[in-house]
């Protein structure tokens, strides 16, 4: 009889054991989503980002080791808008985890409710590697970061309703901190409103809109097409004629083309990060803007 009871208990544990979750396991496509999820979820979540902060988010290899993480996840957060088209659908399909498939509370498209910029009216690859739903680099606007936090909050509450009060408190703290930091960042950037800059890839539209910068042109002649000599000549002429001071580059693009422009003009190359973890001091989502604003203001002050 004792054996039967133990056997019954073991079977019950095996059957329902998976429902006793200590922490909500979150896998995110990008580290900024990981950071925001950690702010909102606090110690109730265990988050992991597939892409590193210094990695080009368009081109992540779908390694099988990521499948293991996804297999055990309660939530998957994606930037969406086809940014991760080349890698996340295959990983999700291979995960065999129904909780994180589209349509379930565990699948979070962080672009839900985001007002998008650069939504094309017509799409053709003739225009380069364009995103048909709009520019997907929206997390580079702190204001939109608050919308992401709200979306993650909604899904966390759906997964773990008992922790709603805890998540609400964290969301409020995140928003309060963001409001305070936003005032600080805008104040620092106020003197440079309307400044013309050059960028490597079209990934700064939300950042430039948030902080009043103006990206005049890109080193890539079209999105995803490597810089060509004729494009660099065009950029050099633009930099000289418009007296542009700054060329911004991201951690995962080669510096060789920006250096060609810098050598032939007075412009300075400024290394910004598009993601949390892009450089050592950027440990979370707030650090990302602290770092970028600091880099920009230093370069523009010169």
């Amino acid at each position: 009889m004792k054996i039967s009871r133990s056997f019954l208990l073991l079977l019950l544990m095996l059957t329902f054991g998976h429902q006793a979750m200590a922490q909500i396991k979150i896998v995110t496509s990008l580290p900024d989503l990981e950071s925001i999820a950690e702010y909102v979820g606090g110690d109730k979540v265990d988050a992991f980002s597939i892409a590193k902060g210094y990695q080009n988010p368009h081109f992540v290899d779908p390694k099988p080791s990521y499948i293991i993480k996804l297999t055990r996840a309660d939530m998957f957060i994606t930037v969406g808008l086809d940014l991760e088209l080349g890698w996340s659908p295959q990983l999700l399909q291979s995960s065999r985890n129904s909780k994180i498939q589209k349509g379930n509370p565990g699948y979070v498209d962080a672009s839900e409710n985001i007002p998008l910029l650069q939504v094309p009216t017509s799409t053709s690859r003739e225009e380069g590697d364009i995103h048909i739903y709009g520019n997907p680099h929206y997390w580079l606007d702190p204001g939109r970061g608050k919308i992401i936090a709200q979306t993650i909050y909604d899904h966390l509450v759906a997964i773990s309703p008992k922790d709603e009060a805890y998540f609400t408190k964290n969301l409020q703290a995140f928003n309060d901190k963001m409001d305070a930091k936003m005032m600080e960042w805008k104040k620092e950037m106020a003197a440079y409103k309307g400044t013309d800059i050059i960028a490597y890839h079209n990934e700064w539209v939300y950042f430039e809109t948030a902080f009043g910068l103006h990206v005049v042109d890109f080193l890539e002649p079209k999105p995803g097409i490597p810089p060509t000599p004729s494009q660099l000549v065009k950029i050099i002429k633009e930099v000289k004629s418009q007296d542009i001071k700054v060329i911004i580059n991201s951690p995962y693009f080669s510096n060789s083309s920006p250096e060609v422009v810098a050598r032939n003009t007075n412009a300075e190359i400024v290394q910004l990060s598009t993601m949390t973890g892009g450089y050592k001091p950027i440990r979370d989502y707030f650090d990302l803007f602290d770092f970028n604003i600091s880099q920009m203001t230093k370069a523009l002050a010169n």
């Binding site: 059957t15 590193k52 390694k63 065999r96 509450v157």
Partner: protein
């Protein structure tokens, strides 16, 4: 004993049910038929969770909503892509030394069927020397929500044997598949049936076990479709390690058993090893890969005749010179699975220029020699131009 049997039965039903149906479907079932069972317990638990979730979402300030932009994309059309493979070649053997032709056109259609499965259809037009023949290369369903990390595939599919059998030709870093692969696998081991994959819960590294049961391929150097009940049985164990953030290692073992063209059975074994180095910061600019596969076959010719035991192997190296330039070299040695006295060796090099991820041009020489058919080595030069339109996702890592 009866109770334990009943308990086991309900647990099995419960597990299958939980894997296949959603909580909403659970709630619609007639619970009285399974009263006092573990299934009922789970239904109640899930309903409680569902109610709690509903009540909490009413108090949530903002509800997730699709923006108007995303609403326009919410359609049920499958993702479609078309891949063109144009080739030109020169060879030192034969009367017609030069040719230019469309080697293949591949159409990819994929979509979710419902929340539980997705489907992939890959019709192709394949040909040599100007003539294209239409066939369905793959057409299969893949489940998304089986329990215990299982995934089932049914239909016609490239089988999980070795490393490159599942890779479509246009995605190979070399123009022609290595001669050992061609001799042991033909164009590919591609058959109709079932494939069950299990992610082994290994806490240390990735392990996947695949078991396949198919009817037996119609055109294959080792196997054939049997007129009797001899299906093709295949198993593959994939082991994968992240050595560092930038380097990975994969080791696989494969075995297949099925009917052969001599009216008996054949065995085919394989080992594959791949090392990849790709710095994640500059993964668009640099990479290196070395890969080897070994094939071993044993063909039973019946009583009184010795089995034919053959082997073959290849090793390739691929090095990325820059964002757009790739270099690859392959050495391959092979006996024929139907005649182990005949051997072939090939050495080839490929230079690849990738305009974007949707277009690449590759060219390079190949030397093929053997110990019988041709007295002198055959020199060939190839050009391949691959172009893709539409939405084409990632290939297997």
């Amino acid at each position: 004993m009866k109770k334990i049997f009943y308990l086991l039965f309900t647990i099995i039903i419960n597990v299958i049910y939980a894997g296949i149906f959603s909580p909403q479907v659970h709630a619609q079932q007639d619970s009285s038929a399974v009263a006092d069972s573990l299934l009922l317990l789970e239904i109640q638990q899930q309903m409680q969770e569902s109610e709690a979730s509903q009540s909490s979402s009413q108090t949530t300030k903002s509800k997730p909503q699709m923006s108007s932009v995303r609403a326009t994309s919410a359609n049920t059309n499958p993702k479609i892509s078309v891949i063109g493979d144009f080739r030109s070649m020169y060879t030192s053997e034969g009367d017609r030394n030069f040719d230019a032709f469309v080697h293949g056109v591949e159409i990819n259609l994929s979509s979710f069927i419902d929340p539980y499965a997705r489907a992939d259809f890959i019709p192709v037009f394949e040909g040599e020397h100007g003539e294209l023949k239409a066939e369905i290369e793959e057409a299969y369903l893949t489940t998304l929500s089986l329990p215990y990390s299982l995934q089932l595939k049914v239909g016609k599919f490239r089988q999980t044997f070795g490393k490159i059998n599942r890779v479509h030709q246009h995605a190979l870093p070399v123009i022609n598949a290595p001669i050992a692969f061609q001799n042991f696998m033909g164009e590919a081991l591609n058959d109709q049936g079932f494939s069950l994959s299990w992610l082994i819960p290994n806490p240390h590294f990735y392990q996947e076990l695949v078991v396949e049961l198919t009817r037996g391929p119609e055109e294959h150097p080792v196997f054939t479709t049997s007129t009797r009940n001899i299906p093709l049985k295949l198993t593959h164990l994939k082991n994968f390690w992240d050595l560092t953030d930038n380097a990975t290692l994969e080791f696989g073992m494969s075995a297949a058993f099925g009917a052969n063209q001599f009216g008996h059975t054949s065995k085919l074994g394989g080992l594959n090893l791949t090392y990849k180095w790709k710095p994640i910061r500059y993964n668009r600019y640099k990479s290196f890969e070395i890969q080897s596969e070994l094939f071993v076959s044993d063909q039973d010719l019946g009583a009184g005749t010795d089995d034919i035991r053959s082997w073959g192997m290849y090793t390739w190296l691929q090095y990325q010179l820059g964002q757009r330039w790739f270099l690859a070299g392959v050495y391959s040695y092979s006996e024929l699975p139907t005649d182990n006295t005949f051997t072939e060796e090939s050495l080839s090099a490929t230079v690849g220029w990738y305009a974007t991820e949707f277009q690449k041009i590759e060219f390079g020489p190949q030397i093929l020699s053997d110990n019988g058919l041709f007295n002198a080595p055959v020199f060939s030069g190839f050009l391949r131009w691959i172009f893709v339109i539409g939405s084409h996702g990632a290939h297997q890592y």
